[in-house]
């Protein structure tokens, strides 16, 4: 095998290891969420992420990067990606991506006001 091929194999092994680690973390998050919901009397209910309101139980279930964004929007109520990035200290492009992930999961809505796009929690 050439050096390049060996490097590619090494890289694929690293990616595989990272994916396994991520999978373990998601499993752990699911378990924490199930335990928490169980203690709050929601035992046995299926965890349909798309239907869950953005309460603390959902926050505990979210991956770290989305939780930070969700917590910021919970405090701001309605904000642009720039406003959220000021709150979290992360770059605007990353917050925009995370906010859109939360929209696609059904936790947030978005609307346009002039040139700006505002993200908000429905029902607020």
């Amino acid at each position: 095998m050439t050096n390049e091929e060996l490097k590619i194999i090494e890289l694929l092994k690293k990616i595989n290891s990272t994916l396994e680690s991520l999978s373990n973390k998601v499993e752990k998050s699911i378990k924490i969420q199930e335990d928490f919901l169980g203690r709050l009397g929601h035992k046995g209910k299926t965890l349909d992420l798309d239907e869950m309101p953005l309460d603390v139980a959902t926050l505990l279930y979210l991956p770290d990067h989305l939780r930070k964004t969700a917590l910021a929007i919970s405090e701001l109520k309605e904000a642009t990606a720039s406003e959220v990035s000021e709150k979290t200290g992360r770059v605007r492009a990353a917050e925009s991506d995370y906010l859109n992930q939360l929209v696609s999961q059904g936790h947030l809505k978005k609307k346009r006001k002039g040139h700006d796009v505002y993200f908000y929690i429905e029902g607020e």
């Binding site: 973390k25 752990k28 998050s29 924490i32 335990d35 928490f36 203690r39 709050l40 869950m52 309101p53 953005l54 309460d55 603390v56 139980a57 959902t58 926050l59 505990l60 770290d64 939780r67 930070k68 917590l71 910021a72 919970s74 405090e75 109520k77 000021e86 709150k87 979290t88 200290g89 929690i121 029902g123 607020e124």
Partner: protein, 277 residues
């Protein structure tokens, strides 16, 4: 996995602390009330909020008839400032001491039990937004949440809104194991800075001098969080039934002195948090 983060801008104007525990009966309410009083006595402006909606008891320590309760605020019937009673003059503190009480009638406590997840979501948002009002409009330096023990929505909402959580535990295995569960399942996940306070320790188990320091370090390693103190069990404090704010009414009592030491340690720790962020 430790995920530590704070939201920028959420702790610049003041500090928000939650006093929590795994089990009941650890002395959380007494610690919260005395800590708030101690900060106010030393000149800080403080707001203490009784977020123990299932067994509220702050009204025993801070007597007053508020126009509204925290329940009304979370039901969006009033602002947070409409809930607060100013007990500064009554308690003769140097700094302002504001108290937010929770409805303690059976009817009110029953209503809390029926709240759904959408209400809890709004309660979280209102709790977070209350901080802005308290810091910016009422110039509060410290917000202290007293909470229900264990895993309840209101307690976790308070933790989510806080910069720091002080876990009060007794010196028994049930408490230790449960406290570790809370740390792993809630505090760690939410990325909240946490400290442990051991309270109501039987006198024969309280080491003195270097012995106490060594035990605190050992326990700190076991929990992986700093230990903020070890307070002995005082029979007279127990017998008092929670009617006395010791730091104000009996400042020379050893319990008051333990609270003063706790206040100093917290100020030092929270001050260092600011400069490291």
């Amino acid at each position: 996995m430790t995920s530590t983060f704070t939201l920028r801008g959420s702790n610049i104007l003041g500090k928000t602390l939650t006093i929590h525990s795994y089990k009941g009966g650890t002395g959380k309410t007494s610690i919260a009330a005395n800590l708030a009083a101690s900060y106010a006595k030393n000149g800080s402006d403080v707001c203490i909020l009784d977020y123990d909606f299932r067994a509220p008891s702050m009204q025993v320590l801070f007597k007053g008839k508020p126009k509204n309760y925290l329940n009304d605020f979370l039901d969006e019937k009033c602002d947070i400032s409409d809930v607060l009673i100013d007990v500064t003059r009554k308690n003769k503190t140097k700094g302002k001491l504001l108290v937010g009480l929770t409805g303690h009638s059976t009817k009110t406590m029953r209503e809390i039990m029926t709240k759904d997840r959408k209400w809890e979501m709004k309660a979280l948002h209102l709790t977070l937004s209350a901080k802005a009002t308290l810091y910016k409009d009422l110039n509060v330096d410290y917000i202290i949440f007293d909470t229900s023990p264990g895993m309840h929505y209101s307690s976790i909402n308070a933790i989510a809104a806080s910069d720091f959580a002080l876990l009060v535990t007794k010196l028994d295995e049930f408490d230790f194991e449960g406290t570790k569960e809370l740390i792993n399942g809630i505090y760690d996940v939410l990325g909240r800075k946490t400290g442990i306070l051991l309270n109501k320790i039987p006198t024969m188990h309280v080491p003195i001098g270097d012995g106490q320091k060594k035990l605190e370090e050992k326990l700190g390693r076991s929990f992986n969080f700093p230990i903020f103190g070890m307070i002995p069990c005082y029979c007279d404090v127990q017998a008092d039934g929670g009617k006395t704010i010791y730091t104000l009414q009996k400042p020379n009592h050893p319990f008051s002195q333990s609270i003063e030491q706790l206040t100093e340690k917290l100020e030092d720790y929270l001050g260092k948090l600011d400069s490291s962020e």
